[in-house]
């Protein structure tokens, strides 16, 4: 694909507004342009098709009775009173539904050979293992009656000792959550290493060690989950609408859980109101609605309430890291050593055991080193399961290395920008191994940092900081850097195989040219806010020389898009976008044959140029793709032996991950009397490779930044000693509003990826990965003269204030955070 300067790039970065339509865009250059989104019309008009907007005749509602205790034996479930409630049509205990399951809820990633995957039934039978564990199901004619019925179910619980933290899970004498395992360990000491790490550390003149804790995070997609299951009792078919990121994966895995033939099971992800990983899972409520629909023979709907979402939808992070680097006196990195403890929660959700491994080989970041190791242990606790939350493993690795690079800079008495530059892997445009052996696709880390420092006017900021320090201002200035890298694109399939992941990394696409000149694109990706209908249209319009408006992108329905691996891990463009491009190349190959036949020239004399198939040397002799698609439809005069029609499919299996990177600068004011942190500026320079739609890419960065900054400053799911979620609603858990955040200053550098022909890297998670260490580094930077070297996330006013008090009293100046007291 032709890649020049990106039209619209500068305008987008400056936030200029304009309506680009076909007439404004030179044919063949949609890619790189700021096309407004095709998705927006219905969403702006209030005509979205979210699951809760759907209704079917005869539909009944499910409400789920959930355990109020974190760990308890279930002695008896009495549903008789519920059945007396007006409108209630059925009520089931876990035992009542046990015969519905052909298998438990799946975990597809037993990452270490000895990983223990517990049974996970959609409705608990004999033991509840977390607050919110489903213990009974009530079905009624209305939403309200179902809730009334659920309140009437009587459950006799025998409380057991709860395990409410990682440390407790590992303590001697801890209650055992899954008795069959004998302890609370899911897997232990999974190690990935390169070089003689112990020797490097033993001999290094400088060793810096810190403990970090990643708070438990609640994803908070604005649309809670919802399910509508429709049985076809006569044919045995089943259709399920679910607010999910993964319709294809659900079709396969829920077919196994329910014992439904996969061939008779259709899954539809309609408009989905955000995911962030929280809808990348196979959930109990999906299985429950399917089972009830099958039993009753009527459509069954369940819509999650927000407080229910906080208990029943996966959480993220909850990871303790002991991070060490070995270095020279000058701050040149020699070794990296990370020991990680992570919490699965009460069960193993779909890909939970592997999440930390997604970041394992990124603990050395964008830096050179001689040796590195990563070691991980995972435990069970009586809390909501964790799984892939935006970034998934990569924010953890990035936080550890980017925080400790600042600590190293302080130790060796250098500016954090200088220490980073000293250690950068030099610019490269061919795959290059990091110390762990991960093959980075392309990168120019210094260019990103230079641009970010220039945008931030770094030297002026440092001067202002020095002045405030000199004056002893109450509000001190802090400047935090983060030069992050991530791995996206979920590839290659063989690599996934080597770490026991239960799927490949490929993606599928079909392009169908209709007789009227319209083009249908079927993608296996499943967008939920990312704008694939727009970006995929841009790719196809360029590749086929058709108008942007003439392309229709279909997705999210397994009957329409039979093959796909859905949307997560910033994989959609780097895998799905490329599959579309490959399918378009097949269309052009067939179209060339027809054009050559019609123009009576040899096939090799026809080239696709300026949006049409043209005879070399006589470009006025041409056919458009629409012309030959009509010829292929008529089939009156196509080459001998050619199949009529113009439809091609392709599956792209990437050879490698992509490695987006970037440099972020956070500027904070810290009130040294109250501990209040005010984020006053945020500069982000990202490298996501070539860009299809700069407006959408920039929007992804903005949203990611907000979520990452929230991790750094605001959000934390907390539990009491009984295992109750004490941040159990949106009032108590601090999702930031517009009032807490600044406008962002964004720009990018472009190093085209070598992992796919588009040069695309992915951008969905970048902001979330790069920003937590930037904001926390900024706060620590502001307070460093007091001797403060580490503050735990989220950096709340209380935590800052306590750190300042401790520093002033000389009693140690480090707080790690809730789960990570050293």
């Amino acid at each position: 694909m032709a890649q020049g300067p990106l039209p619209g790039e500068a305008a987008a970065e400056e936030g200029a507004v304009g309506t680009l339509t076909d007439t404004d865009v030179e044919m063949g250059r949609y890619v790189g342009s700021r096309m407004l989104r095709k998705e927006d019309g219905p969403l702006l008009a209030g005509r979205g098709s979210y699951v809760d907007n759907l209704a079917l005749p005869g539909m009944v509602w499910v409400s789920i009775v959930r355990s109020p205790l974190a760990h308890a034996r279930i002695n008896r479930v009495d549903t008789s009173a519920a059945l007396e409630v007006p409108g209630v049509v059925a009520a089931y205990s876990g035992a009542d539904l046990a015969s519905e399951w052909a298998a438990g809820l799946p975990c597809a990633w037993p990452v270490a050979p000895e990983t223990k995957i517990p049974d996970h039934w959609p409705v608990a039978k004999d033991k509840a293992r977390m607050v919110g564990d489903p213990v009974a199901v009530v079905v009624a004619d209305t939403r309200a009656h179902a809730v009334d019925g659920a309140e009437a179910v009587d459950v006799d619980y025998e409380p057991l000792q709860p395990v409410t933290s990682i440390e407790q899970a590992l303590a001697d004498g801890a209650a055992v959550i899954h008795e069959e395992f004998g302890n609370n360990i899911c897997f232990q000491d999974l190690k990935i290493a390169s070089g003689d790490v112990d020797k490097v550390f033993a001999e290094a003149p400088v060793v810096v060690k810190q403990r970090y804790y990643h708070p438990r995070l609640i994803p908070n997609a604005m649309e809670p989950r919802g399910v509508l299951a429709q049985p076809m009792p006569v044919t045995g078919e089943m259709t399920m609408w679910s607010s999910t990121q993964i319709p294809h994966i659900l079709r396969t895995l829920l077919a196994l859980t329910l014992g439904i033939p996969e061939s008779k099971f259709r899954v539809i992800a309609p408009d989905v109101g955000g995911g962030f990983g929280s809808k990348l899972d196979v959930y109990a409520e999906e299985a429950i609605c399917l089972a009830v629909a099958r039993k009753l023979g009527v459509p069954v709907k369940w819509i999650e309430e927000r407080s229910e979402n906080y208990l029943a939808t996966l959480h993220g992070r909850d990871v303790i890291q002991d991070m060490e680097v070995a270095a020279t006196q000058e701050g040149k990195l020699l070794g990296v050593r990370a020991k990680v403890l992570c919490d699965m929660g009460a069960y193993c959700q779909l890909v939970a055991p592997g999440i930390q491994v997604l970041g394992a080989t990124l603990f050395s970041g964008v830096y050179q080193a001689e040796a590195a190791s990563f070691e991980c242990t995972a435990v069970f606790t009586n809390r909501t399961p964790t799984d892939a939350y935006r970034g998934a493993g990569r924010p953890e690795a990035t936080y550890a290395i980017e925080r400790i690079m600042d600590a190293l800079a302080r130790r060796v008495g250098k500016d954090p920008a200088e220490v980073r530059e000293l250690n950068f892997i030099p610019p490269f445009s061919e795959p290059t191994a990091n110390v762990f052996g991960a093959m980075y696709d392309s990168g120019n880390y210094k260019a990103g940092l230079d641009k970010a420092l220039e945008l931030a006017d770094y030297q002026s900021l440092r001067r202002e900081q020095a002045e405030r320090r000199q004056r002893g201002d109450t509000k001190q200035l802090g400047i935090g850097l983060s030069t992050y890298i991530e791995a996206c694109g979920s590839a290659p399939s063989r690599g996934f195989g080597s770490v026991n992941f239960g799927a490949g990394g490929w993606e599928a696409a079909t392009i169908r040219c209709l007789p009227t000149g319209k083009v249908v694109v079927v993608t296996g990706t499943s967008p939920h806010g990312q704008g694939h209908e727009t970006s995929w249209s841009q790719i196809v319009a360029d590749a086929l020389g058709v108008k942007f408006e003439d392309v229709e992108v279909l997705h999210g329905d397994t009957a329409i898009s039979p093959q796909g691996l859905d949307t997560y891990g910033s994989r959609s463009l780097a895998a799905g976008g490329v599959a579309i491009q490959k399918a378009a190349e097949k269309i052009i190959a067939k179209a060339r044959k027809i054009a050559a036949h019609e123009l009576e020239v040899a096939e090799e004399d026809v080239e696709f140029a300026d949006g049409a198939l043209r005879v070399r040397g006589a470009p006025d002799k041409s056919r458009t793709v629409a012309d030959v698609a009509f010829s292929a439809f008529l089939a009156h005069n196509i080459p001998d032996g050619m199949e009529p029609g113009m439809e091609e499919s392709a599956v792209f299996d990437p050879v490698n991950n992509t490695f987006p990177s970037g440099a972020h600068v956070a500027v904070v004011e810290v009130d040294t009397q109250t501990g209040l942190v005010d984020l006053i500026r945020y500069v982000a320079v990202d490298d996501c490779g070539n860009i299809v739609n700069p407006m959408i890419a920039q929007g992804m960065v903005h949203g990611g930044l907000a979520q990452g900054i929230a991790e750094g400053l605001y959000e934390e799911a907390t539990y009491d000693e009984h295992g109750n979620l004490t941040s159990g609603n949106m009032g108590a858990y601090r999702v930031p509003s517009a009032a807490e955040l600044p406008s962002f200053e964004t720009d990018h550098v472009v190093t085209p990826s070598t992992s796919n022909p588009g040069g695309w890297k992915g951008v969905g998670e970048a902001g979330t990965i790069g920003s937590p260490p930037a904001v926390v580094n900024a706060v620590v930077d502001a307070l460093a003269p007091m001797g403060i070297d580490n503050i735990g996330m989220p950096v709340s006013p209380e935590r800052v204030w306590r750190a300042i008090q401790a520093a002033q009293q000389g009693s140690g100046a480090t707080t790690t955070g809730q789960g990570g007291q050293a």
Partner: protein, 159 residues
């Protein structure tokens, strides 16, 4: 059951409703106006924001019976004669929505801010939007869209 009468998007509506019913469920389930979304159960997120008698309210925090006699405008009632409202158009032009779930409530809240003269600066807009959460956009483009719509809405109407 209680009998109520109200005007929704210019149409007079009458219904017998359960006293415990929230306005948002009256709009969504009784009237089928599903553009107004429900995002939480603590009046925190603002996804359900509608205009009631000229003020933006969270329709999950109003009982249907309290809306008796009122005039309500939802996202479905904002466009006029097939033309998007300036706020809707500004959201589109500025890429102020991604998944779209918070969007109807965000737009209604934004219209309320501008119409009540509370959108004079970025700071004022950000504080005014405190009751409406978005998880996709980081608010950057939402704030820009509101600034843009505010100037359009303040400009004298062209004849």
């Amino acid at each position: 059951m209680r009998h109520i009468t109200c005007t929704v998007n210019g149409v007079r509506r009458e219904a017998d409703v359960e006293p415990r019913q929230l306005l948002v469920y009256f709009l969504r389930e009784t009237l089928g106006l599903t553009g107004t979304n429900v995002g939480c159960d603590t009046s925190s997120c603002g996804a359900c924001t509608v205009m009631m008698d000229g003020k933006s309210v969270k329709s999950c925090t109003v009982l249907t019976v309290q809306a008796d006699g009122s005039e309500i405008v939802t996202i479905e009632g904002l466009a006029r004669d097939g033309q998007l409202h300036p706020m809707q158009e500004a959201f589109r032009q500025n890429h102020a929505l991604q998944c779209g779930y918070c969007t109807p409530g965000m737009i209604m809240a934004a219209v309320g801010l501008v119409e009540n003269g509370q959108a004079a600066s970025e700071e004022e807009i950000r504080v005014g939007l405190e009751g409406n959460l978005c998880r996709c956009t980081g608010y950057h483009n939402i704030v820009k869209a509101i600034q843009s719509a505010a100037s359009t809405m303040r400009a004298p109407a062209q004849s």
